[in-house]
């Protein structure tokens, strides 16, 4: 489908999230994210990659207002999510958006049974009928590949992969339209990762979910996402269709990142040429400021006007 015809379910503009730490003289500001702009189409999977500490989790948390963004705008289905928090806005956010957390062990309350954990979102939404709650929980357990019998057990009785399934069930039981999955497989053994990735893919098909998939493993993100955003030090530097990004990376950081991903192929690995990204050398932003620019249709790069011109020239044969 051509991008123009698709509905933008999430629109993020110049989002910034700064944390202040320390007091008095020691006070300093961490610009965890700074000038992040992108949009997500309905029913697509949008991957967010970047190195540890570049601001992926912060972005996810700011989107669903677990943090109060310093500046910028986030619109879900046209409605602005930044600004003063009201009961109505909180309700709007929780009923439309959900988050699967990075650590499957820390994020489940050890004193609650699986039934209590999974049904929590429904109870908050005012569903009290025990029979209905049971039915919905069992249906969810079945969906994520667990059984009814698991409902009365506690988190510590499950393996990492099973706990991650419980986390997924808890998030999707309220049928959110957008799910932010923060490194849902990073903590799992390789053999279990594939189970969880396949499950997310099935749920996406079945429920028409829109997913923001955060990870640092580029191969997994590429496999799972329709489009990908690349972050570097609090900024989003490139957004494109996943095939396009991988075949024609434009921003020098994306090129460096792709050149560093080890591939399970001894023939190509031995010939690998790794590119190095040094921001000071790669860009001269003393005269022109960079901003997110659509360099090719659907392919956005954080660049200055003269860089944009140079990129277009470099890929001239593609126009």
């Amino acid at each position: 489908m051509a991008n123009e015809e698709r509905k933008k379910i999430l629109e993020v503009e110049h989002l910034a999230m700064h944390f202040s730490t320390g007091r008095g003289k020691k006070k300093s500001v961490v610009k965890a994210i700074n000038d992040v702009s992108f949009h997500v189409y309905e029913s697509e999977t949008f991957g967010l990659v970047g190195e540890s500490g570049c601001g992926k989790t912060t972005t996810g948390r700011a989107l669903i207002r677990l943090y109060n963004p310093t500046s910028g705008s986030v619109k879900f289905d046209g409605r602005e999510l930044t600004g003063p928090m009201t009961n109505d806005l909180r309700k709007y956010i929780t009923s439309n958006m959900g988050m699967i957390f990075q650590d499957p062990i820390d994020s489940l309350n050890p004193r609650f049974t699986i039934r209590e954990i999974i049904s929590e979102g429904l109870k908050i939404r005012g569903i009290k009928d025990e029979k209905e709650l049971d039915d919905r929980v069992y249906e969810m357990l079945d969906k994520v590949g667990l059984t009814k019998e698991h409902a009365t057990r506690y988190p510590h009785e499950f393996s990492g992969g099973q706990r991650q399934r419980i986390g997924i069930a808890r998030t999707i039981i309220t049928r959110p339209r957008l799910v932010i999955a923060d490194e849902p497989v990073s903590a799992l053994d390789v053999s279990i990762q594939a189970q969880v990735i396949n499950l997310l893919n099935e749920l996406k098909e079945e429920m028409g979910l829109t997913i923001i998939f955060i990870a640092h493993d580029l191969s997994v993100v590429k496999y799972f996402s329709d489009r990908i955003g690349v972050m570097y030090y609090g900024k989003l530097v490139e957004v494109a269709d996943s095939e396009e990004l991988y075949k024609h990376p434009i921003h020098p950081y994306t090129r460096a990142l792709l050149s560093a991903v080890p591939q399970p192929n001894p023939l190509t690995e031995r010939k690998r040429v790794r590119l190095v990204y040094e921001p000071e050398k790669a860009h001269d932003y003393s005269k022109e400021q960079p901003q997110m620019t659509e360099v090719f249709p659907g392919h956005f790069v954080y660049a200055s006007p003269s860089e944009v011109e140079a990129y277009r020239k470099e890929f001239a044969d593609r126009l």
Binding site: D189, Q193, I197, K222, P262, Q263, P264, E269
Partner: protein, 347 residues
């Protein structure tokens, strides 16, 4: 390829167990491998398959509840399963370098980073203080620590996890070891930093004819580093061979599953081949081929009798009944053979 006579380390029929309240955990159940001078072997396999326990045995750093049931670790005319701690003191961190998963425990929290490196250089390389400092800063730069002159005088807590891991690597390299054992040394690092460190290890290997044992679950890293690969499952080696043999002609169903379970950058719409079920309980290791219960190609005999190693080439062996002359012809999964074809074309 390495000659028979330049074997530097040999592990023979190693069995290691742990006494635990759940019972006697049979962590390593008959592991064999050889390491030649100047080669890198990779050990891959599922979490809990006994990779770390195997290399901890080599270094004499098993926990107190561990029991070496039987087996030998031959190095420089000694059997390391029988030598005492005094001998290990002359080997560990000196002739055999170590880089572990958890960098926190490897550094002294109250000693400046620079001193932790120069100490090794002064003691082991008999350098004077000045040269040691120069060399240490050079090593810090080589592992990608920005502003090493400033960082030299800082303490571990002032470093991020990834930076601490790079210091551990710098220390291991400072002593100029004969063998370097790396247990998931780059798992916590970003790919750009990781590839830099792998390049560094490869360079030192070339320059000094270093032998490396590399444990990782990242098959991309294996492809990058390894001359030969050992695949472990449930406390045993199930397949080993040269890197190309393991990646392009895998023979054990567990190796098939491992190779197909993760996407590479070329994987598109196909469903990933997940390995069903969970790893076996090692207090009661299953009879026969331990992978049988999760193996869609399992035959009756897999549940009854343990498969011996079948020879595929002079360098490539796999322990699976599928290689028995009487076994039905079983090709690897179509999805995997497609992927291998594609990889060969790219190469």
């Amino acid at each position: 390829m390495a000659e028979k006579n330049d074997i530097i380390l040999e592990v023979k029929d190693l069995h290691v167990s742990f006494k635990s309240y759940a019972g006697y955990v049979r962590a390593v159940r008959g592991v064999n491998f050889t390491l030649h001078k100047g080669e890198t072997i990779a050990i891959v396999g599922e979490s809990g398959s006994g990779k770390s326990v195997s290399v901890k045995t080599i270094m004499g750093i098993l926990s107190k509840n561990a029991v070496i049931d039987s087996g030998e670790v031959l190095y420089d005319g000694m059997d390391l399963t029988k030598v005492d701690e005094k001998v290990f003191h002359t080997l560990r961190g000196k002739r055999i370098g170590l880089i572990f998963q958890d960098p926190l425990s490897a550094l002294n929290p109250i000693m400046k980073i620079g001193k932790q490196i120069t100490e090794v250089l002064i003691l082991e390389q008999k350098m004077n203080k000045e040269d040691a400092k120069k060399k240490a800063i050079e090593l810090m730069r080589a592992v990608g620590i920005p502003q090493p002159e400033v960082r030299f005088d800082q303490y571990p807590f002032q470093f991020s996890g990834g930076m601490r891991q790079r210091i551990v690597i710098a220390i291991a390299l400072a002593s100029d070891p004969e063998i370097l054992i790396c247990d998931e040394p780059t798992t916590a690092l970003d790919v750009t930093v990781q590839s830099r460190i792998l390049e560094l290890i490869n360079k030192i290997k070339e320059e000094r004819n270093l032998s490396v044992i590399f444990i990782t679950h990242d098959l991309g890293v294996v492809a990058n580093m390894a001359d030969r690969v050992y695949v472990m499952y449930a406390g045993k080696v199930v397949e080993f061979g040269e890197s190309e043999e393991i990646f392009f002609e895998p023979a054990h169903p567990y190796t098939w599953a491992l190779l197909s379970s993760m996407p590479d950058l070329e994987t598109k719409d196909e469903k990933l081949m997940a390995i069903p079920g969970t790893p076996p309980n090692m207090v009661y290791p299953p009879k026969g081929d331990a992978f049988a219960a999760r193996n869609q190609y399992a035959m009756q005999i897999d549940f009854e009798e343990e498969p011996p190693f079948f020879k595929i080439s002079d360098t490539h062996y796999a322990a699976t009944w599928l290689l028995h002359p009487d076994a039905p012809e079983t090709p690897m999964p179509e999805q995997l053979s497609q992927r291998i074809k594609r990889m060969k074309e790219e190469g």
